[in-house]
Point group: C2
Chain length 344, copies 2
DNA sequence: CTGTTAGCGCATTCAA
DNA sequence: TTGAATGCGCTAACAG
């Protein structure tokens, strides 16, 4: 009757049981043992162990104005890229004893907006977001209120926000180089629509132009396909049956890759006999596919880790810059690129 | 100079600006307009809009003893199964305006334990966990403190906790039935080690025995492989080169499937000529693989949705049972199962 | 219809 | 070395 329900155990209860005052318990909890007798210290510890007391983080947060929680808003949680990054963020944050609230914007600016608002109300200490780009005012609001913010994967122009992303130029360049060295001259790139703010698509296409020129290859405009997923198969079919079709194709991401492979299956095309293929994103089945697929692996874990690191530093007030960090990809050479016999 | 920094805007500030008292603003925010003049109501609304005020959820949580946040602890966030479930949980929770903190236990009981403690301190309203099984005391503690808890994917025996998982028996039975109807009699199953608490593996093997008997097929003990991932390839090779090798193989999950496909590639075996194959888990490349792969798709989204629904109901005190819900899988028939010519 | 009051559980001066 | 007092921002009676 006298014993409170254990879930409502509070600091006062512990203090009472240990015959000390609340503040002493508080000091104990925060490791300020300096001015505390060994005796009271042990006493408090014993009571805490016996009761299984643990301090109420909500109350603490209210007091110290810090929740030790960050919000992560991913564009689409179903992408392996996202989950790998989330995992890395989690790991980094666990080290720092901060929690992560993951929100899935589902590529929907409205959802993103809603989540940013909700997380602000929840007083998160900072944000990591894969920005849709359609909520500039929200991003600005965060900056204005001095809430630390880091963007991942996408750059929002004209906004001075720390950003970590793949070095898309390098990724494309690596692929083009591999193709060029294997003797290919007619190279195509297939991506999803390069709409504003979707940096990876934008940069991969831009990088493609640059790299083609660098390796002295002539680019054909119709060898750049940027279409919605459900149109990619027919576009590829069209390109392949046109004049001077490409002998090498660069798939812009894992989803595009799947469409290309589907097209092959449906049209009876074979890799690498009919065309060589490299994909950005190292898919799980890259090894077992026949032929195994040469890929450009994104450093997802590193991107997540770096992003978390930058955010945590900003939260601690250790940095104050607005760098854009580009992480290098890795080429995983397998069997989907064929050496072309020189025709001279 | 008189204007406070916007991020510190509080209810009192709003009240002051609107010439009303705090409690009136509070009422407004909680939608209790009944006893409020249209005038004050409009006034408050205007001030809120102008200032961009949003209430501090932390303070509110402290007061109402409810955080509108649940904790989700997944065994391993890298599994597609997990991310699909997380996404479904998210969606369901967003509807109910509750937030989700996702933690990745990484199949490590220690991490699981740490997360449960941390989330309890954070006063989450409930838990959804893919239990490792090694923290029974923690699960019991949650029950004891009346913190709503739902298990996903794995059953912890002797613990009366609501659980939602795949109907593993049905999944296996579907596969065996397909094989049997195609004329196969020598069928094998390959899974990861069936250690305690890992319900899917346990039930899939048990179900395999049951189904084989149901379809009048004789089971060979050496046609059950339950080994760590890195041993699966050699075990399969061994089984296939032994006497009376299976003509059909059931892969216990996506990871096992990858190992089996790798084995095929390395040993030059072909599907479905050398053996037929069905996998539990519908992988992204099922269609593009040659031949396309027949799979048993887990209802991940439904499992997540149902789990969230049950938890939210428990939180609201609407239910008080301890059901185990098994969700039915779906057969996706493709080309990796070969009809065997009758040999009579 | 609106304002006053009294905490929620904790951290933090400031005295003792 | 410890304790009493104060307030974080909000809700919820209860008065008015």
């Amino acid at each position: 009757m006298t014993k409170k329900h254990s879930s409502h155990l509070t600091m006062s209860d512990v203090a009472k049981k240990a015959n000390v005052s609340k503040s002493t318990v508080s000091q104990y909890l925060n490791g300020r043992y300096e001015f505390m007798s060994k005796k009271t210290r042990d006493m408090i510890q014993r009571v805490i162990e016996e009761t299984g007391y643990s301090p109420n983080v909500v109350a603490r947060s209210l007091k110290v104005k810090k929740t030790s929680t960050i919000g992560v808003i991913v564009a689409n949680i179903l992408h392996k890229f996202s989950t790998e990054i989330i995992r890395a963020i989690e790991d980094a944050c666990m080290e720092a004893d901060v929690h992560v609230i993951v929100c899935n914007a589902d590529d929907d600016p409205e959802k993103e907006r809603k989540y940013i608002k909700a997380l602000m109300a929840k007083q998160v200490d900072g944000f990591i977001v894969f920005p849709t780009g359609d909520n500039i005012d929200m991003y600005e609001l965060l900056e204005e209120r001095n809430i630390p913010l880091v963007f991942l994967d996408r750059i929002i122009p004209d906004l001075a926000v720390n950003t970590v992303l793949l070095d898309n130029f390098k990724a494309v360049d690596t692929a083009v180089q591999v193709f060029a060295q294997a003797g290919h001259t007619r190279i195509a790139i297939v991506t999803m629509p390069a709409t504003a703010y979707v940096t990876p698509r934008l940069e991969r296409i831009e990088g493609f132009r640059i790299s083609m020129e660098r390796y002295g290859l002539e680019m054909q405009e119709n060898h750049i396909i940027d279409q919605p997923l459900d149109r990619i198969q027919q576009e590829v079919t069209g390109m392949m049956s046109g004049p001077a079709p490409p002998t090498a194709v660069l798939a812009g991401n894992d989803l595009v890759l799947l469409e290309i492979l589907n097209e092959c299956k449906n049209s009876g095309r074979h890799i690498p006999e009919d065309f060589s293929l490299i994909s950005i994103d190292d898919v799980s089945y890259a090894n077992v596919y026949q032929p195994s697929l040469t890929t450009i692996k994104q450093p997802s874990a590193e991107i997540g880790e770096k992003g978390a690191e930058v955010l945590l530093q900003k939260i601690r007030g250790e940095i104050n810059d607005q760098q854009i960090v580009r992480m290098a990809p890795t080429l995983i050479a397998r069997e989907s690129v064929k050496e072309l016999i020189e025709e001279n």
